[in-house]
């Protein structure tokens, strides 16, 4: 569905050239749900804009939905849906006017646009709001309208740029319900960008980690975490017991340090290792005062890949 080779984009800022995207090679198969994860300014949105033909690449190629983005940008736009970061519906327009005209923009006939619009109004729970002004809708309703606008022409590939930024948890869950249903019913390929770790973690099958304009990791969330970070076990003992405790811990995993009686180790499948470790410590007469298991998040993955935390880049 998507195939890019060495996709690159640079901008001139004053006299300097800023490379926003540096040689992205990416393949997305039909039906996949892929999240681009990375801090602000990593190049996620720039990549998305090139894939949606809104921005021409400086070099490299991209084929999207079977067409080259440079050779046939209008053709690409016809086949994909794009839902941007901000409210896409004009605030001073009526809900139905925007929906119907969006259909016309994609070349649907009047009757097609009407039928499809009605279908989306009911599936996105916008019934009764057709004649309301967009500015009078709640945040969640506006977002659902944006999704309806992006789906009016039933695209085979849907791009969402930071779809849930600024939404409350309830609306975010609701949004995801719609996205997941869309996929189940129509097999739509979905590519989204996010800086919400939890979102990439729980919702996407495939996470593409982008930093400084490059793809630095590309796998399922579970495998990224297992590969890059591993589980971390921390336990606290009397300072006198530390040498013995370390000895036991070495057998369970890789000890990464001990600070004033608190020993830290990395282990695969920490949840299975922890009970055995505790009983082994008890056998060695080591009294454990506290023990915690930390299973990695994608932030740990990012930290291990780049030495920086993703959270630092998240909007305050």
């Amino acid at each position: 569905m998507i195939h890019t080779e060495k996709l690159t984009r640079s901008f001139r800022v004053g006299k300097e050239t800023v490379e926003a995207v540096r040689g992205v090679d990416l393949d997305v198969a039909p039906g996949e749900l892929v999240a681009f994860l990375g801090p602000n300014g990593a190049g996620k949105s720039t990549t998305l804009k090139m894939l949606t033909s809104l921005l021409a690449p400086t070099s490299g190629t991209a084929r999207v939905a079977g067409l080259d983005v440079l050779a046939d940008p209008a053709g690409v736009r016809q086949r994909i849906g794009y839902i941007g970061q901000n409210t896409g519906a004009g605030l001073s327009y009526r809900v139905w006017d925007e929906l119907f005209l969006q259909g016309r923009f994609y070349g649907l006939s009047r009757s097609e646009a009407t039928d499809r619009g009605r279908e989306l109004v009911s599936s996105l729970a916008l019934d009764g709001m057709e004649l309301r002004k967009v500015s009078s809708l709640s945040g969640g309703q506006k977002r659902r309208l944006d999704i309806a606008l992006g789906l009016i022409h039933s695209p085979e590939l849907l791009f969402l740029d930071e779809p849930s930024t600024g939404m409350d948890p309830q609306n975010r869950a609701n949004l995801w319900e719609h996205i997941i249903r869309l996929r189940e019913q129509h097999g739509t390929t979905i590519v989204l960008t996010t800086h919400y770790l939890e979102e990439a973690d729980t919702m996407s099958e495939r996470v593409v980690v982008i930093d400084h304009g490059r793809i630095i990791a590309d796998d399922t969330a579970a495998r990224l975490k297992a590969k890059q970070a591993g589980d971390r076990i921390t336990f606290t003992v009397w300072p006198a017991d530390v040498p013995r405790a370390r000895e036991v811990a070495e057998r369970a995993g890789e000890v990464t340090g001990d600070v004033s009686g608190t020993v830290t180790l990395r282990a695969e499948s920490g949840d299975r290792v922890l009970p055995g470790l505790l009983s082994a410590l008890a056998n060695q007469q080591v009294a454990v005062q506290a023990a915690t298991l930390h299973q990695p998040t994608l932030d740990d993955v990012f930290l291990s890949l780049t030495g920086r935390s993703l959270r630092e880049g998240v909007d305050a």
Binding site: F11, T46, L54, I83, G88, G90, R94, F105, D146
Partner: protein, 253 residues
Amino acid sequence: MATMLADTRSVWVRESLTIWRDPFSLIFSLLQPLIFLALFGPLLSGIAGEGDLGTSSLQWFLPGVVVMITMFGTSMVGSNLQYELMTGAFERILATPLSRPALLVGRALKELTPLVIQAAIITLVAVPFGFELFPAHIALGLLLLGLFGVGVGSLSYALAIAARKNEWVFWAVQQTLLFPLLILSGMMLPLDTGPEWMQVLSKLNPLTYMVEAERVLFTGSLGIEVLWGAVAACATAAIGLWVGIRSVTRTDF
């Protein structure tokens, strides 16, 4: 081409909805040129005295007002765009397969729609005061103005895109350019008695040729001025669209 026309129509329909859904704004915009005509016209005939303008200062002045409202309307295209540039509406529309010229032309035509009605009203209102009506000539005049307006509208569109990060820049540039252009076109006052530098500048102003062409047409005649007006209109439309399309396709939003 067929797609481009259909796309232009769709864009025009969407833009025009702001008028049809809220016709109050239209009523006020219709009053504006009438007020202008009513307050300016008498003064002008006073200045002109018994000179060659005296017979019908209206015949001289009214085409200028029509050109002025075209300039006011179409140079504002960008200001309506600014609002949508700030929200995501502009980006959403860019992501549709709509042809890029249609985005510009559709918006300019929306500003030109009320113009046709405005022009019709002020012309009809002027008839009882001695204004002679030549409908076919006026229609040709409006057509030329429409073409010219598409160019000005597209330039205004490009200006709004260029100034998308500081919206006041749009107003600063628009206002700074609009009034000198209007005055130097001889639209409000004749420039024949002005200093030479003004006359030179006015020769460089495409609007001058529009105003002169409209004056000839509104008196029911055809002349070389009309041809120059057509050249000015075509050139403005071509340059405007070229600049506008470039700014749409080359800007990173």
